[in-house]
């Protein structure tokens, strides 16, 4: 079970409290995690990555086990700790006001 932590505004949009838990078959890449997230919560489509290009939205980042994977390709396999559910996959909104 993959644990995903969303920014507050996306939790509100998806109508979830706390972490999201997803079943993702191996290999657990972060692209596969995002696919599973969007399948489970279609209202999130387009809010994390572009509908067509699948590019990450500029002001979002993906953190895993203290590392920033935002610039890695979507087929990057996530660490075993994430695949096992010991560590969450974090979708983080950029630190910015406004």
């Amino acid at each position: 079970m993959i644990r995903v932590v969303l920014p507050a505004h996306l939790r509100t949009l998806a109508r979830v409290d706390g972490e999201v838990k997803l079943d993702v078959p191996p290999p657990v890449t972060f692209g596969a995690v995002l696919d599973a997230l969007e399948d489970a919560y279609p209202m999130l489509r387009g809010t994390i990555r572009d509908h067509v290009t699948r590019q990450r939205r500029a002001f979002l980042r993906f953190f895993v086990c203290g590392e920033d994977l935002s610039h890695e390709p979507a087929d990057t396999v996530l660490p075993e700790a994430v695949a096992a559910g010991d560590e969450p996959f974090l979708v983080v909104g950029a630190m910015a006001g406004g």
Binding site: H9, L13, R45, G46, I48, R57, F59, G93, G98
Partner: protein, 371 residues
Amino acid sequence: MSGIRLLVGTRKGAFILTSDGTRKSWDVSGPHFGGWEIYHLKASPADPNRLYASQSSGWFGQVIQRSSDGGRTWETMGNKFGYEGATGTHLWYDGTPHPWEFARVWHLEPSLTDPDTVYAGVEDAALFRSTDGGQTWKELPGLRTHPSAGVWQPGAGGMCLHTILLDPKTPGRMFIAISAAGAFRSDDAGASWRPINKGLRSEQIPDPTAEVGHCVHRIALHRTRPGTLFMQKHWDVMRSDDAGETWREVSGNLPTDFGFPIDVHAHEPETIYVVPIKSDSEHYPPEGKLRVYRSRTGGNEWEPLTKGLPQRDCYVNVLRDAMSVDSLDPCGVYFGTTGGQVYASADAGESWTAVVSHLPSVVSVEAQVLP
């Protein structure tokens, strides 16, 4: 007794203000979608409980919301706004070609007859339509692929399609306006378009009378006389009596003819309202006095309406989609400010009351009469 619902979009959420037909006391609901920019909300003329809202954020992009119960509950609809075919280029601020990029929905215009059909005006400028209640969106590409589109340029706020007017008398006729391309008309339900900017004069572009390139801020019409259009341009208040074929200036005795919104009295097609703003770089009322100006002669002769509005030290702006009228008698007039006030007049502008005073900066106001 009829009621009134005001749909207010702000920089940090939506608010719904309701009153009975006296329009004296108001209930405030919100913020809905707190923290998100709500450029526009609008109700279907065919179903008063069907509302559409444009929700967007620099972080998370565009979301479309729909309510079927007058704004008590909402459901997230489709947000895939893909341009049809080759996207092409327009001119960027520096005059170089720039590919069309979707940024956000500025304006939602529900069909006059079908609650499931709604048009969306977007940045970069294009027109989309949904016929399934907002679940899916399809571009009407005839506008964006107009031969003049390659030289359209963004205004300071982006290259936005901000006004959509559906002609209630001529089937298939619609008007749109883009900053800073100008006004356009379709006579075939959005399939093809042509610029309707003859008579506009803009000294800020190389050819002041060019076919396109004018920064039209807003256009408005009266439902009984849709061949007459009123326009607040960047500078100049304009009027057309031939469905946009030609325009003439009707700024008359306004203290300044810069401004953003313009609207028409619900029962008097020759009574129009504007909010003069000092200049294009000083986006606040002249002399610190917030004044709505009304013309009962279809322009040229204007009177200030000040009762209940701040007449000193007021430096707010009123954005293009932030004025609306209701169809009660007397006509109600409403507007919101960048300072977070929403002012209401239940007597066609003679006197004003601040319905709310401390909302986030107001982007849009739509008035809706409830049965």
